[in-house]
C-alpha cells in the first residue's frame, strides 16, 4: 500500500494510494470467513466494519491534497480506472458465492444472519465505486459502473444521480438534499422512492424529446430492468427462489447507505436563487466535507464532497479537501449511525450548521418552522418556490 502502487512521488491522500483495495478486501472477507470454518467467522465483515467505525475517530483526518503539478498525470492514469474495473468481477463473484452458500449449504440461523450481513456489506460498499464509474466520460467505465450496480439492483441511481442530483443539489428540487430539522426516517423513504421515480421521469422525457415511446429499447431504465431481471433470473435458476429475499437485502442496504450519505452531504444547505428563479452555480459551500481517513477509504473519497460537486469531472483520486467548504463534525462512519438517532444528530450537527449559516455563504434550507428565528430571517421571501419542470 505504498505510493509505488500509484507510481507517483508527490503527496497523495491515503485513498489515492490504496484506491479500491478496501472495497476488494470487503468483497473477499465473506469468502475468508467461510475458509476459516464459518461459525462466528461468517460475521467477519460486520466485525471489521465495527472495528473500522471504532478506529475512525481515533485515526482522524487525512487532509493531503496532491500537487497541482501531478494532477494531469494522476487524472489520466489508467491504474485508477483499472482498480475500479476489478470491483466488477469481485462483486459478481462474491454475490454468486454468497447465494450458493446461503441456499445450497446448511447454515445455522446465526451463521445465516452474519453471512447475509457480510455479503450485503461487501456488495453494498461497492456502490461507491459504481458511483465513481457512472461519472466517467468513457462509456466503457459507465457500463462497468452499471454492471457493478446490477447485483445490488441500483442501476437507476446512475440516471438520477447524474441528471438530477448533480444539477439540483442544495435546492428543493433534489430529493437527495436534506433540510435542516428533517428527520432521517421520512427522508430515507421519500428520497429512495423519489429518486427512482425521477430516473423514470428523466428517461421518459428523453424518449419523448427523441420522438420515441417510453417503452423503447433505448430507454436506459428499460435496459436496466432487463439487465437486473436477467441477473435475478440467473440467480434463481442457479440457486432457487431463496435468492429473491437475499437479493432484496442486497438491494436495500446500499440504497439506505447512499441515502444516508445524501442526508449528511448537503444537510440544511441551500443555493441562492437568481432573479430568473434559477439557482446559483453550485459552490464548495453547498456540500459538507469530510476527510476522515477510514471513512474516506470505504467511500472512495466521496466524502471530499465539495470538490466532487464543484468539479464533477474530477475522478476520485484527485478530489481535494476544500478550505471554504463546511466540515462535518465527524467522519461518515460516525455520522451515519448518529443520523439514525435524531436527538443525537441535532445535538451534534445543528450547532455546526448554525455556525456555518452565520458565515452567510448559504441559504438555510430547512423544514417549515424548524429554524431559529435568526436564521429564518436569512431565507429570502419566496426562496425555493421554483418547482421542477
Amino acid at each position: 500500500m505504498s505510493s509505488a502502487i500509484a507510481g507517483n512521488s508527490g503527496p497523495l491522500s491515503f485513498v489515492a494510494r490504496v484506491t479500491t483495495l478496501p472495497h476488494l478486501t470487503f468483497a473477499i472477507l465473506p469468502v475468508v470467513g467461510y475458509l476459516l470454518g464459518g461459525g462466528i467467522y461468517h460475521w467477519i465483515t460486520v466485525f471489521v466494519l465495527l472495528a473500522l467505525m471504532f478506529i475512525d475517530p481515533i485515526i482522524g483526518t487525512d487532509d493531503t491534497n496532491h500537487d497541482e503539478a501531478d494532477e494531469g498525470a494522476l487524472q489520466e492514469k489508467l491504474f485508477y480506472r483499472m482498480m475500479l474495473w476489478v470491483t466488477l468481477p469481485a462483486s459478481v463473484a462474491v454475490t454468486i458465492f454468497g447465494h450458493w452458500l446461503l441456499t445450497q449449504t446448511s447454515l445455522t440461523t446465526s451463521e445465516t444472519i452474519g453471512f447475509l450481513l457480510s455479503l450485503t456489506l461487501a456488495t453494498g460498499f461497492l456502490a461507491t465505486t459504481a458511483h465513481e464509474l457512472c461519472h466517467h466520460t468513457q462509456p466503457v467505465d459507465r457500463l462497468i459502473g452499471d454492471l457493478v450496480f446490477t447485483p445490488i439492483f441500483m442501476c437507476d441511481f446512475h440516471i438520477y444521480h447524474n441528471f438530477m442530483h448533480h444539477i439540483h443539489a442544495a435546492t428543493p428540487i433534489d430529493p437527495g438534499t436534506a433540510r435542516y430539522g428533517e428527520k432521517i426516517y421520512p427522508f430515507l423513504i421519500n428520497s429512495i422512492v423519489r429518486k427512482t421515480r425521477m430516473a423514470w421521469q428523466i428517461e421518459k422525457k428523453r424518449m419523448a424529446d427523441n420522438g420515441k415511446p417510453t417503452w423503447h429499447p433505448s430507454n436506459l431504465m428499460i435496459r436496466f430492468i432487463v439487465l437486473q431481471a436477467a441477473w435475478l433470473g440467473l440467480l434463481v435458476a442457479l440457486f432457487g427462489l431463496w435468492s429473491i429475499p437475499i437479493c432484496f437485502v442486497q438491494y436495500l442496504f446500499p440504497r439506505l447507505l447512499l441515502a444516508v450519505g445524501d442526508y449528511l452531504e448537503h444537510y440544511g444547505l441551500g443555493r441562492k436563487q437568481l432573479p430568473d428563479g434559477s439557482y446559483e452555480k453550485i459552490r464548495p459551500n453547498h456540500a459538507w466535507d469530510d476527510s476522515t481517513l477510514v471513512s474516506s477509504m470505504l467511500f472512495c473519497q466521496i466524502d471530499r464532497h465539495s470538490d466532487h460537486h464543484t468539479n464533477v469531472g474530477r475522478p476520485y483520486q484527485i478530489l481535494r479537501v476544500m478550505d471554504e467548504a463546511p466540515r462535518l463534525p465527524q467522519g461518515y462512519l460516525t455520522m451515519i449511525p448518529i443520523a439514525f438517532i435524531p436527538s443525537l444528530w441535532r445535538k451534534q450537527m445543528h450547532p455546526v450548521v448554525e455556525a456555518y449559516y452565520d458565515k452567510g455563504e448559504v441559504i438555510p434550507y430547512a423544514m417549515p418552522d424548524a429554524l431559529p428565528e435568526k436564521y429564518a430571517a436569512m431565507v429570502p421571501e419566496g426562496w425555493g418556490q421554483t418547482l421542477p419542470d
Partner: protein
C-alpha cells in the same frame, strides 16, 4: 473493399476541429473528446462539469459529424439538438468538424459595458507597480488577455481621461466580479499619483470593458510569451487559464525587467511552471542588475534570448504573444522577423503602447 479499408485506416488519423467565429483550428486525437482536445491546446472553451450534465460546453456543429459518448438529449432540448447543438465534452469526432461557439462570438464582439468598481484592496508588487483589486456591481465576462478602461470619477481636473489596464487573472466561468489590475506609477501623472498617494481602498472607479483581442489562439504550436514591466498582467492571465486547462503545448515565457526590485509575481509564475512541469518554463531576465549582485538568473535584454537554444523550441513554427513597453516590443518584433516567425503568429495588443508608456496628458 478499398473504401472499407480506407475507412478503417482513417479511423486512427487525428481529426481537425475548427471553431467559429475566428476560424481557429486544432487537431483532435482519436481518443480525445472535442473539449479535451481543446483544453490540451489551451483554447478558451466554456465548460463546467465536463461530464455531459451541465451544458456549459454547448456549441453548434456547422460541419462534420460527431459521436456522442452520452446522449446529448439528457442535457440539450429537442429544439437545440435539431438545430445542430452538441456538447463538446461528450463529442468524439467522426471526421473533421467546424463548430460555432456563441459565447466566443459574444466575447469577441461583445460591446464593452460600464461597471461600477469598488477598490477592495491595493498592494505594492514592486517599488512602482501596484496591484489594485476591485469588486464590480455585477459579473463581467472577459477573455484572458483582454483589458478594461478605468476612470477615476472624482470630478478633479486631469482625471477625465481613462487609463487601460489588462485583467491580471484568468476569468471565472460565468463572469468575474472580483478583478485585479497591475498599475505602474508614472511620476508627475495625476492619475497614477492619485492612486499611489494613499490607500484608496473603498474608493469607487468607473470601469469600461472588456476590450482588446489579445488572447490565446488555438493551435498545437509552441508558445513564446515576452513581457516587460506591467506587461506581466495579460500574459499571467493567459497562462493561468492555459494551466488550468492542462495545456499540452510547450510554453516559454521571457520576462524582462531592469533589476531585482522590478521583478514581481515570481511565486505565481513558479507555481504555474510547477503546475505544467513539462510544458511551461518561465525565464526572468534583468537588464540593469548591478554586476556581482545576488542575482543568479539571466542578464541582458529579452531580445538576446529570442533564439531556439534559449526558448527550447524552433521559432519558425511558434506563436508569440508580446506585451510590454513599445521599445521592447519593437526590438522583439525585429528579432522575431529575423527568426522567420510568420507575422500572423505574432500577437500584441496595439492598445498596449499607450498603456505601457502611460503618457499622462
Amino acid at each position: 473493399m478499398q473504401k472499407l479499408f480506407n475507412k478503417f485506416k482513417n479511423r486512427n488519423e487525428p481529426r481537425t476541429a475548427t471553431i467559429q467565429p475566428g476560424g481557429e483550428s486544432f487537431e483532435v486525437p482519436k481518443n480525445r473528446t472535442l473539449l479535451q482536445a481543446a483544453n490540451d491546446k489551451g483554447i478558451d472553451f466554456p465548460q463546467h462539469c465536463t461530464v455531459g450534465t451541465c451544458g456549459s460546453c454547448r456549441c453548434k456543429l456547422l460541419e462534420g459529424e460527431v459521436r456522442p459518448l452520452r446522449d446529448f438529449s439528457y442535457t440539450l432540448t429537442r429544439a437545440e439538438i435539431s438545430d445542430g447543438y452538441i456538447l463538446a465534452c461528450q463529442s468524439m469526432l467522426k471526421g473533421d468538424v467546424v463548430v460555432e461557439l456563441e459565447s466566443r462570438g459574444e466575447l469577441a464582439t461583445q460591446p464593452a459595458e460600464r461597471f461600477t468598481a469598488n477598490i477592495t484592496s491595493t498592494g505594492m508588487l514592486t517599488h512602482d507597480i501596484m496591484e489594485v483589486s476591485v469588486q464590480l456591481d455585477r459579473p463581467l465576462t472577459y477573455t484572458a488577455g483582454q483589458f478594461a478602461d478605468l476612470l477615476i470619477n472624482n470630478g478633479l481636473e486631469g482625471f477625465a481621461r481613462h487609463r487601460s489596464y489588462s485583467f491580471s487573472c484568468a476569468p471565472e466561468v460565468g463572469g468575474s466580479s472580483d478583478l485585479s489590475f497591475h498599475i505602474r506609477r508614472v511620476s508627475g501623472g495625476s492619475y497614477t499619483e492619485w492612486l499611489f498617494e494613499k490607500d484608496r481602498t473603498g474608493e469607487t472607479l468607473e470601469l469600461h470593458g472588456p476590450n482588446g483581442s489579445f488572447w490565446l489562439r488555438a493551435d498545437d504550436a509552441p508558445i513564446l510569451c515576452i513581457a516587460g514591466g506591467s506587461g506581466m498582467a495579460p500574459i499571467k492571465a493567459i497562462l493561468e487559464e492555459a494551466a488550468a486547462h492542462h495545456i499540452k503545448r510547450p510554453v516559454t515565457y521571457l520576462f524582462g525587467a531592469r533589476a531585482q526590485r522590478d521583478l514581481y509575481c515570481l511565486e505565481e509564475m513558479q507555481a504555474l511552471a510547477k503546475q505544467c512541469p513539462t510544458t511551461l518554463q518561465f525565464i526572468p531576465i534583468l537588464s540593469e542588475e548591478p554586476e556581482g549582485s545576488s542575482w543568479t538568473g539571466k542578464r541582458g535584454l529579452v531580445t538576446e534570448y529570442i533564439n531556439p537554444a534559449a526558448v527550447g523550441f524552433d521559432l519558425k513554427g511558434c506563436h508569440t504573444y508580446l506585451c510590454g513597453p513599445p521599445v521592447m516590443i519593437d526590438a522583439a518584433l525585429e528579432v522575431l522577423e529575423c527568426n522567420q516567425v510568420p507575422t500572423d503568429h505574432i500577437h500584441y495588443d496595439k492598445f498596449l503602447d499607450s498603456r505601457q508608456l502611460e503618457i499622462e496628458s
